[in-house]
């Protein structure tokens, strides 16, 4: 078995205590939530913290509730399993519930947290390897080295955003609430990402993600998530597609949104989704979808295909991942229109 480097583990019982511990530790401190991302990364010596602060015993980080303004407030330590199964989330944020239901496998979903998935490190086949492997490679841009491997002659780290929850949360206008020694900060998830595989988040040292707020979605909100992967469980996405359709009482789309991920360092919003789909009528969720809606959707799928350029950053056939963009965009919107989903191969 691989050994994790030695570190001190702190198990504070209040947020204040955790913030103080992290502030004191500085860059050598790290946070552990469910540990499903951090532990393998520690064993691969991608991180070598001297202090790891567990958030497991901090009550403020747990729980899913509806706020007085109708928005959904989710504690960052909520398990992915609870996100997938919670009735409020399923009703108000179906794309998020679906995305959570497809993360990893059942055991990992019971340990892994929503906050942990949002803050997931970017992934790359040249990076998520043991120290020995990376040493034999001559290391890489993201960790311990200066060489670029994904495309010969490349110069920028393109490790892929691989968190299924992120695109769903983007379509839901989620806000991330952080606390640190400097106080409380709230950021729209749209503005949280950086197009840099080395570190793709505007996340400062010592900041703890406390909760996520999802504004109230209208009654006709529909959402779905599509995930491409080789196996029916465990694997990170080769492509993730989140779709949003808000349909008014006339049956007309009032808002549409499309975010794809697992292609590049940050999730990508296909901005034309609204322009193409708003004003169309999807038609009967139980019957045949309307021809005009399907035609607009085909146009959106073509557009998404043009905009997406997967690289050989994560394992898997990049050409196939690209070919699947329009298929998954179409299928995921169809699922949303039908109040179905998730889109998955099982």
């Amino acid at each position: 078995m691989l050994r994790a480097p030695k570190f001190e583990l702190a198990t504070p019982t209040s947020l204040g205590e955790a913030i103080a511990l992290l502030a004191e530790a500085g860059p050598s401190g790290m946070v552990i939530a469910g540990g499903t991302d951090l532990m393998p990364n520690l064993k691969h010596e991608l991180f070598t913290p001297s202090l790891v602060v567990s958030l497991a015993r901090i009550p403020e980080l747990h729980g899913i509730r509806r706020a007085t303004d109708g928005s959904l407030v989710i504690g960052a330590m909520s398990s992915l399993e609870s996100i997938a199964e919670n009735a409020l989330v399923r009703e108000q944020a179906p794309a998020l519930a679906q995305a959570a239901s497809l993360i990893a496998g059942p055991q990992l979903r019971s340990m892994g947290t929503l906050g942990g998935n949002v803050l997931l490190d970017t992934r790359c086949q040249w990076y998520n390897q043991t120290y020995f492997w990376r040493e034999a490679l001559g290391f890489c841009l993201k960790k311990d080295g200066s060489k670029y491997h994904v495309v010969e002659g490349g110069a920028k780290c393109v490790a892929a955003a691989s968190n299924d929850s992120a695109p769903a949360l983007m379509t839901l206008d989620a806000e991330l609430g952080f606390e640190s020694a400097a106080g409380r900060r709230s950021v729209r998830i749209e503005e949280f990402w950086l197009a840099d595989g080395i570190f793709n988040k505007r996340h400062a040292q010592g900041e703890i993600l406390v909760e996520l707020t999802i504004p109230k979605t209208p009654a006709g909100h529909r959402g779905a998530y599509g995930k491409l992967r080789e196996r029916g469980s465990i694997d990170f996405p080769l492509l993730g597609v989140a779709a949003r359709l808000d349909v008014d009482d006339q049956g007309t789309v009032s808002r549409a949104d499309l975010v794809v991920t697992a292609l590049a360092a940050r999730p990508h919003r296909v901005t034309k989704a609204g322009e193409l789909l708003v004003g169309t009528r999807p038609g009967d969720p139980q019957g045949e979808l309307a021809a005009e809606f399907r035609a607009r959707l085909a146009e959106l799928a073509r557009l998404a295909h043009k905009q997406c350029h997967p690289l050989e950053n994560i394992p898997g056939d990049a050409a196939w991942r690209k070919a699947m963009v329009p298929v998954y965009v179409r299928r995921t919107f169809e699922a949303a229109a039908r109040r179905a989903g998730p889109v998955h191969h099982l």
């Binding site: 691989l2 020995f132 040493e135 196996r231 029916g232 056939d317 196939w320 070919a323 191969h345």
Partner: protein
């Protein structure tokens, strides 16, 4: 072969079997399920050190120097060894010993072992590895077998006149070209098979201790204790009488634990040097470097046949990527050709197989050693033949059936052969007749057949001693202990021995204990490989039982003053057939025999008859009995994503007689799971820089339970004349034809031929695109199809 080696398919007591043939749980099932079973890594000895291996970061390089001074100076480090400490080479095949426990002078793949450290704990050993300085002089590295076949400088193994060719075999039987020239139809095509690995759940592990008087004991997760024993004696130059090798409970092997491995020598050497017990457990990544998995092969086949579908000529040319060492490669190169000559009869056959070295983890025997790849190519080609002749693929296979009690074109003796029954069963169970060509576009069924060996008469080191030995000890309490060198690697061979003893001696199953795979206690057996254990150890167990049985019967007959024919050993009781009032408990009968014959015990053994063709290599692949298999796979293809879904696999396997139907079904299901896994998901790939593309269970995609189709195990019993009660193998044969049956099902579903493994969705889309272009051209249209 001595008379002792054939016991016939009948029950020992005439009328019916009382234990054999009944679905029975494994002896160690409860211990494994409760966590009580002791695996090698569970062993903790007082003062035990932990060892780790430093591995090569270079794919091909000369070692200029190794500086271990800083590692030795680290507190807690007790021993550091390099190739200089273990200079003697080894290898499972005596003629191709090209491995060192730790690299001597050069390294041949990324992951090749270079040095080993023993320290007070794993962290200290790992820290010491980072202090070892190795200076390499890089050499040109070979990742493409075609290049290795053509270029010999630099040589991966120096001083061989064949350069980078590890083994070449060309054998020809009958007028191959003449019959092809005269045939009604000739099919010629190319196929390829990628690399895959065993991925046993238990990583390799070994523990060694050496007593003050030089007794070296090694516990190892091996499937061949006897070869480890021999190799340790050779490499350590330690007398074999002073070495004891024990295989504890084992967590899967599938061929991947058949070779002697670096860690066994390293723990032994470090234990001898430090005077303390030493353990080494491979990480999952290291298991991928130890490898010995399925050889990647490029295969060309030309099959000729008459209009009636009868095959007249088969010609094969195969290039095999062996990786960096020989391992079992000599045998692989033969098996790639020798094991194709059934269940079909053809009058002429030629194969030309070349195995080359490349700078990758060494390949070796994986479940269906050497013959899974050719079987894939050939069975797809048979489907192409059926298509061309517009024959039902099952009918084509029936027409070419070789029959029972016959000889193959390459001189192998066929005894029992239940292949027709296998075809009948899968045809019926799958609903073949109402499905083939009749389901909606996108869904299809495919068939394939195969055969495999039940051990071979070719021991890896030449000798005329028995291939399997068993010893029985009888206790006055009624307990019988079986001592066998046979390795139970999870397949249940210990349970098989116990069932035979219970059947033969009339003792309840729970009164039989099995002590296995301990070289001090057990007679030699050649180990768990080539599907030999049930056949050979089973026969040896019957042999031992019958000797003991005749003593018990004659002692009781003497007391009862009756003819021995009247004494019958029933479960727990010995009865007089003609006087039901007279009986003894089994324990009392044992005591009676002990009074008369003194301490009771017996030995039994098995050796193969003389087999094989009269030509060089003619004994390789010669088996005392062959198993036969047929698969039908039902699959569908999503033509938009290219994704293949396997719904059902029906596998009918002729295992001669199912001694324990529960374990036979388990072997069939496990084999099919493994076959479909390597067809669709698993890939052992080395990237352009020589690094394993994903040496972890995240990136090496073993199917999970949700990825696994419905498996239908159908048992066919042909009652082999020489197997124990008629039994043959069931552990490897049922893998073979699952893969071509899937390819053939995809053809039935969407009309494309999957000739290259693995069957990825990207490849499916490419072929669908080519197909729709072809069809558009044929219609004279300008439509484009394929990838969206």
């Amino acid at each position: 072969m001595a008379a002792r080696d054939i016991h016939g398919p009948a029950p020992p007591w005439g009328d019916e079997f009382r234990v054999v043939g009944k679905p029975t749980r494994k002896l160690d099932g409860l211990a494994k399920a409760t966590g009580a079973a002791i695996y090698t890594d569970d062993i903790q000895l007082p003062g035990m050190l932990h060892a780790k291996t430093l591995r090569s970061t270079q794919a091909h390089a000369r070692i200029r120097s190794i500086d271990t001074r800083a590692a030795r100076a680290l507190k807690g480090v007790h021993g550091v060894i390099t190739g200089a400490d273990l200079p003697i080479r080894y290898g499972v095949i005596p003629w191709t010993q090209d491995e060192n426990a730790l690299a001597v002078d050069k390294v041949r793949f990324i992951g090749d072992p270079v040095a080993a450290v023993a320290a007070v704990d794993e962290d200290t050993a790992n820290a010491a590895l980072k202090l070892i300085r190795v200076e390499y002089e890089p050499l040109h590295a070979y990742f493409d077998p075609r290049e290795a076949a053509a270029r010999h400088d630099p040589a991966i193994h120096e001083g061989r006149k064949e350069g980078n060719v590890s083994k070449h075999v060309r054998l020809e039987f009958g007028p191959v070209d003449e019959l092809a020239a005269a045939a009604d139809v000739v099919l010629e095509d190319e196929y390829s098979f990628h690399g895959s690995t065993h991925a046993p759940i238990e990583p390799h592990c070994a523990v060694a201790t050496c007593s003050a008087d030089g007794l070296l004991t090694v516990w190892s997760a091996t499937q061949i204790t006897h070869y480890v024993h021999r190799a340790l004696a050779q490499v350590l130059e330690h007398p074999p009488q002073k070495i004891r090798v024990i295989q504890p409970c084992l967590g899967g092997a599938f061929g991947g634990k058949s070779d002697p491995f670096s860690l066994e020598f390293c723990v032994a050497k470090l234990a001898m040097l430090t005077g303390r017990p030493v353990k080494m457990l491979y990480t999952r990544e290291e298991v991928f470097y130890a490898h010995r998995g399925r050889h990647p092969m490029s295969l060309k086949y030309r099959t000729a046949a008459g209009r009636d579908g009868r095959i007249t000529s088969v010609d094969a040319k195969i290039l095999i990527d062996g990786g960096s060492y020989s391992s079992f490669g000599l045998v692989t190169t033969y098996y790639a050709g020798q094991l194709l000559t059934g269940p079909y009869d053809f009058p002429s056959y030629r194969f030309d197989s070349t195995r080359v070295f490349t700078n990758k983890p060494p390949c070796g025997p994986k479940r269906g050693h050497g013959s899974v790849q050719p079987r894939f190519a050939f069975e797809v080609q048979l489907d192409q033949l059926a298509e061309k002749l517009e024959l039902d693929p099952i009918e084509l296979r029936r027409r070419n059936f070789q029959g029972e009690r016959t000889r193959t074109v390459n001189g192998q003796r066929i005894t029992s052969n239940g292949f027709l029954a296998c075809l009948d069963q899968v045809e019926r169970a799958s609903g073949w007749k109402s499905k083939r060509g009749q389901m909606p576009f996108g869904r299809g069924v495919g068939v394939a057949g195969s055969m495999y060996i039940s051990g071979t008469n070719y021991p890896v080191y030449p000798n005329k001693m028995p291939q399997a030995g068993v010893q029985l000890k009888v206790d006055r309490s009624g307990l019988v202990t079986v001592f066998t060198g046979g390795n139970d690697i999870g397949q249940g061979s210990n349970s098989m021995c116990a069932m035979i003893v219970a059947e033969e001696l009339g003792v309840p199953l729970e009164h039989v204990r099995v002590v296995a795979a301990d070289t001090d206690l057990c007679p030699v057996d050649l180990g768990a490989y080539s599907s030999r254990v049930t056949f050979m150890v089973g026969n040896a167990t019957i042999d031992a039982c019958r000797k003991l049985r005749s003593q018990i019967v004659s002692a009781v007959a003497r007391v009862w003053q009756c003819a021995p024919e009247r004494v019958r050993l029933m479960p727990g009781v010995v009865i007089d057939l003609e006087d039901p009032a007279r009986s003894l408990s089994t324990a009392a009968a044992f005591q009676c025999a002990e009074e008369h014959f003194d301490t009771l015990g017996s030995t039994g053994s098995y050796n193969t008859p003389t087999l094989g063709g009269d030509y060089r290599g003619g004994t390789i692949g010669a088996s005392p009995a062959y198993s036969f298999t047929a698969h039908v796979v039902e699959a569908s293809v999503d033509t938009e994503t290219g994704r293949i879904t396997v719904h059902d696999v029906w596998c009918a396997h002729d295992c001669g007689r199912a001694l324990n139907p529960m374990l036979v079904a388990g072997q069939i299901e496990g084999s099919v799971y493994m076959g479909i896994a390597e067809a669709l998901l698993e890939e052992h790939r080395v990237n352009r820089l020589g690094l394993h593309a994903g040496p972890s269970l995240l990136d090496y995609r073993l199917p999970t339970s949700v990825d696994t189709p419905e498996l239908h195990a159908l048992i066919v019993e042909s009652l082999d004349p020489e197997g124990p009660y008629g039994a043959k193998e069931a552990g490897e044969g049922p893998l073979h034809s699952s893969i071509p049956a899937l390819s053939n099902a995809i053809f039935d579903a969407v009309g494309i031929r999957m000739k290259h493994l693995p069957f990825t969705p990207g490849r499916v889309l490419e072929l669908l695109g080519e197909k729709s272009e072809r069809e558009a051209r044929a219609r004279g249209g300008v439509e484009t199809g394929g990838r969206v």
